[in-house]
Amino acid sequence: MKIKNLNPNKWVDLYADYLFNYAVTRVSDTEIAKDLVQDTFIAGLKSAKNFKGESAERTWLIAILKRKIIDHYRKSNSKKGKAEVRMSYNSQLDAEGNWMEERIADPNSNFENNILENEELGLAIQNCISKLPKKQAQVFTMKTIQGMETEDICNALEINASNLWVMIHRARTSLMGCLNQNWF
């Protein structure tokens, strides 16, 4: 049994998008998210000797990324401490009704749940894409996520349009199957 099974040369290709999605839903700034992913890879390399092979490579990298995100918030919080925070109970002075009641979150709102669900969904889709054959994943990503024109993809990958649609068809069929259990 292999104890260590890390392959840093492939990290960017294999996990960058997955980690980026994870980060971007938590810091909601693409530049910061990108930096965090980069930091995660470097930190992963530095602590590669601590990798015990108990978890999958990706899970291990996510654990590092989580700590990077926490660090990021700690840093930005210590800056925030210097700013003045003003809060008014109600901006409209003559508003009627009980202010306490008005402050309490709407129990019927499912706003937070939607965010959580979308985040899980994003990772589930990303996970399914990573199981596709490389070329299919590439075409699907360019077409669906990056929203590129058919012609541009064909030129970039040197394939013809009917090749592209065959790959899109296979990718979509596999994704439907992969997401089927939880999301359909």
Binding site: P8, F20, A33, V37, N118, K143, T144, I145, R172, F184
Partner: protein, 76 residues
């Protein structure tokens, strides 16, 4: 007017990216009347499209990944 299931799947996929013509879509709808398998496939395919939109997926561009690799190789 009659189209094969392969053709139907092709139109259905193109429709997901708004690249099917009106006439193609009419033929597709007509095909669904006689073929429940394709109708079901189309339903799931459309669902996949809406899930992808809902998840607001983000990816790094090839350029960004290249840069990331370069930075990464510096520390290696």
């Amino acid at each position: 007017m009659m189209i094969s299931c392969e053709k139907a799947a092709d139109i259905c996929n193109k429709a997901q990216y708004k690249e099917a013509s009106l006439w193609e879509k009419v033929k597709l709808k007509f095909h669904f009347i006689v073929c429940t398998t394709c109708a079901e496939y189309s339903k799931n395919n459309t669902k996949l499209t809406s899930l992808c939109n809902q998840a607001r997926l983000a990816v790094l561009s090839d350029e960004e990944k290249k840069k990331m690799k370069e930075n990464f190789n510096k520390v290696k």
